[in-house]
Amino acid sequence: MGEGELKLLGTWGSPFAIRVRIVLNQKEVKYEYFEEDLTNKSELLLKYNPIHKKIPVLVHNGRSVCESLVILQYIDEAWSKSGSSVIPTDPYERAMARFWAAYIDDKVIQALLGILKATTEEEKTYKISETMSVMELLEEAFEKCSKGKTFFGGDTIGFLDVTLGSYLTWLKAAEKLSELILLDETKFPKLVEWTEQFLSTDCVKEIMPEVEKAEEFITKTLKPRWAAASSK
C-alpha cells in the first residue's frame, strides 16, 4: 500500500506541514518535498487542493490528501508496517488523541497570535493568561496520555507530540519577541521536559526551523502585514 510516488507540498514554517514531515521522517518514508510560496501559489497546489488552496498537501500516486491531521492518519494507515503507529491503536486512546489534537489546533495558534498582536499592555496580559490556561490543560493532558512515559504517544513520538510540537519554534519566537516565559518549568514541569525530549529527537531535529528564522519572519513580514491590515 505504501509504495509509489510521494510528494509533499508545504512551507518551512507551517506547523501543519512540519508535523507531516516529522512523521514521514520517523517512518523513514521517502518523498519529494515542494516548498510553496503562498503569495504565489503553484499550479501543483491549485491542482491538488482546489478547495482550500492550502498546504500541506500529500500527493500519493497522483491522489491528494489534504488537512494535516487527516494526512497523519492516512500515513499511519498506508504505511502501517513502517515504524511505530502515529496514532494509538486503542479506540478510546485514539479518541483522546483526536480530542486533544483538535483542542491544540483550536487554541495554540490563537493564543500565540493574541500575544504577538496585542497592542496594549492590558490586552497582552489578558492574552498571556489565556495562554497559561491552555498550557495548564495541556500539562494535565500530558500526564493522562503519557502514562509516565516520555511522550504523549508513550515511548515514541505520536499524534499529539507532533501536533503540539510543530508549534514549538513559533512558541519560542513569541517568548523571545514578547520577553516572557511561556514554557515555565515551575508551572509546567512535564511539558518543559517533554519539549526538550521532543526537540532532541532525530526525526524532529532535521525538520524544526530555527527560532531566529521565525523571529525574523514575525518581525519583518507578519508584524508589518498586521499593521497594514489594521490601519485599513
Binding site: M1, I51, H52, H60, R63, V65, C66, E67, V70, I71, Q73, Y74, E77, A78, P91, Y92, R94, A95, R98, F99, A102, Y103, L137
Partner: protein
C-alpha cells in the same frame, strides 16, 4: 451489551447529538439517553466534559468521549459491524476531509445566512452555495456520500436534511431545490426516509418555533 454501559448526554434540538444517535443506530447499539438542560448543566456533564462543558458526551463503561465527530469515529472503531467508513485508507481520508469541510467551511456561512439580513445575508448565501456545489459534485453516481449506505459524511451533513427546509420556510430563500442541486435534493429525501434517521428527528413544529426565535433574537441584537 447492557444499555447502562453506554450513556449519551444531549439536548433534543442539537444536530451534534443527533449525529451520535444516528451512528449508534447504524451499529445497533443500545444506550441510555440523558436530556441535559444547558441553562442548568448537571454535575455529571461538567465532570465528563470539563473542557467544553457541551453536549454530546458519550460515556462508555464510565469513560467519556466528547465532540460529535470524535464520538462517531470512536463508535466506528469499537464496533466492527455495519461500517460507517470506507476500508480503503485513501477513501477514508477523503471522508475525513469532506467532514472537516462541512464543519469548517459550510456550516459557518449557513449560520451567518440564517442569523443576518440584507447584504450580510446575501454574501453568506453566495458563500455556502459555492460550497454546496462542491458537495453536489461529490454525490455524482451515488445515493449517499458513503455510497450505497449512509456513511461518515452523510452523518455529519445529515442535519442539513431537516434544517435547510426550516431555513427556507423562515427566510423565504430557496436553498436546495431539485433545479439547483438535484443530487443534494435527492440525498436529503433518501437520508430523511432511511431507517436510522426516520424515527430519530426532532419534532418539526418545536424546531421551527425554536429557529424562528433564534433568528429574531439575532436580528434584534443588530438593531
Amino acid at each position: 451489551m447492557e444499555a447502562e454501559e453506554m450513556e449519551l448526554f444531549g439536548i433534543w434540538s442539537s444536530p451534534y447529538v443527533l449525529r451520535v444517535i444516528w451512528a449508534l443506530n447504524i451499529k445497533k447499539i443500545k444506550y441510555k439517553y440523558i436530556e441535559e438542560d444547558l441553562n442548568n448543566k448537571s454535575n455529571l456533564l461538567l465532570h465528563y466534559n470539563p473542557v467544553y462543558k457541551k453536549v454530546p458526551v458519550l460515556v462508555y463503561k464510565g469513560k467519556p468521549i466528547c465532540e460529535s465527530m470524535i464520538i462517531v469515529e470512536f463508535i466506528e472503531e469499537t464496533w466492527k459491524n455495519d461500517s460507517i467508513f470506507p476500508k480503503d485508507p485513501y477513501e477514508k481520508a477523503k471522508a475525513r476531509f469532506l467532514a472537516k469541510f462541512v464543519e469548517d467551511k459550510l456550516s459557518p456561512p449557513m449560520w451567518r445566512f440564517f442569523t443576518t439580513k440584507g447584504k450580510d445575508q446575501e454574501e453568506a448565501y453566495e458563500s455556502f452555495t459555492d460550497y454546496l456545489a462542491i458537495l453536489e459534485r461529490e454525490l455524482e453516481g451515488k445515493e449517499f456520500f458513503g455510497g450505497e449506505n449512509i456513511g461518515f459524511v452523510d452523518i455529519l451533513l445529515g442535519c442539513m436534511s431537516y434544517v435547510v427546509p426550516i431555513y427556507e420556510e423562515i427566510t423565504d430563500f430557496e436553498i436546495i431545490t431539485k433545479e439547483k442541486f438535484p443530487l443534494l435534493h435527492a440525498w436529503m429525501q433518501a437520508f430523511l426516509s432511511s431507517d436510522i434517521v426516520r424515527d430519530n428527528l426532532p419534532p418539526r413544529d418545536e424546531l421551527l418555533y425554536r429557529y424562528r426565535k433564534i433568528r429574531e433574537a439575532f436580528l434584534s441584537k443588530d438593531n
